[in-house]
Amino acid sequence: MNDAARDMQDLYRELVIDHSRNPRHFGRLENATHTADGINPLCGDKLRLYFRVGAGGRIESSSFEGSGCAISIASASLLTEAVTGLEVDDAKHCSSTVTSRLTTAMPYADLDARLENLKALDGVRAYPSRVKCATLAWHALHAALSNDMKPATTE
């Protein structure tokens, strides 16, 4: 395998392909308490995220719907797995952690065990034009939990 092929497999890791092909928690969430859209106008990626936050401030369930490239769909799917069960503030913290992990040239930020799977997205750091695909869902998560009704965009 040459370097180019290896790089490609680093971007499209098995977990990413799997989540893009079989997205988890895909569809509308009835009785959602928080929702936000994520739009990437350049690519045409469109996501809508739903969260049901219980009285105690914990995310009881999450889902998403929409269309986009493999990276954006896999990222949203991984997100729903990662943040369900978290306190709202912890989920927002996850959003910042993941976003900075994907966008900064610094050494990878630490991820706690429940975010382990998100390391599958690390390959996008080598593709500046694709980072936005991976961060889109996380911007939308932050917007939804901040009760910001404006769609999150990558611009």
């Binding site: 490609m8 499209y12 350049l42 490239c69 493999a70 990276i71 593709y127």
Partner: protein, 411 residues
Amino acid sequence: MGAVAKTVTATDWRADFPALDQSVHGQALIYLDSAASAQQPAAVIDAVARYQREDHANVHRGVHTLSHRATEAYEGARDKIRGFINAKSRSEIVLTSGTTESINLVAQSFCRPRLQPGDKILITHLEHHANIVPWQLVCEQTGAELIVAPINERGEVELDSLLDLIDDRVFLIGMAHVANALGTVCPVEKVIEHARQRGIPVLIDGAQGVPHLDVDVQALDCDFYAFSGHKMFGPTGTGVLYGREAILDAMPPWQGGGDMILEVSFDKTIYNELPYKFEAGTPNISGVVGLGAAVDYLQSIGMPTIARYEQELHDHMVARLKNVDGMRLIGEARHKASVQSFLLDDIHSHDLGTILDHQGVAIRTGHHCAMPVMQFFGVPGTCRASLAFYNNRDDIEQLVAALEKARELFA
């Protein structure tokens, strides 16, 4: 020139383009995105550099030697462009920043003062945003209506349906010569013929026409023809609006400023003659010099030669792509130039674009600034491979091999 060029191979032409001789991600670059922006031959790059090094000054202003040289170079390019599209007079060649500005100029300077509520601007479903949005703006400003001629499943404008839409309220027809997203060559001659009979002006968006076809505006008999320098192997930020002289004469200026005036006082300004009336301010002199060099270069090969070579290569590309498993071609017009849009299995166009880039193959992905076309086919975007005469059959094989690899990765 055509006779000489017949013996020239694509490999010879490719060597004229320095940017094509490089590797990306360790693979030889295969550039299949000329419809977005074409590469420039050394002749263009050198002409711009020589102008900047030796001749630069402002145009139409000074009595000194450099200003004279700059003016000669700039106006010389205008003459070359006139010859390239066979306009009757150099007064009909307005230099702009590109197709987008050319069309906005017509919308604002020709249409806006004349449009009445209830008038119509007729375009087609194939247009890119530069031939949609300027008309929407002027319709909002005047109460006119934008109407759209339909296309069929092959991505062709339905001529009869378009002609049926023409009535006494149609003020202007704007349509692409070659559609950018699908490569459809549109029946502009027939539309112009009908429009002329009814006295309706026609603007042809030639952004994808001039790089691939032998364009003769007098033979076409259109009223306006708009195109960009960077899609015909010239610098970005250059473009042309051809306009029939009598029409341009009757239009007010587009922007105010220096160069477009004969005499200015605070009471009254007398506008300059054509085409300077439409060229306010210091223009993109070096870019236009480069555009002139691009015209020289294209004419040294000959547009009929280019058109013939590209047509053969395009048909070969389409035949090869059809043989790729999981291929869905978008746009299968009977008359096409240079471009093929497609989707592969259910792989998103951006994923495919990234995978191909990694194998050195540059294609365009997404909506190609033609969202209504994407909506027609019910897709968010497509992959688009577009050819120029510097491409060859090996490039097509590399594209096909890269697509096969993408299928393996997503299998």
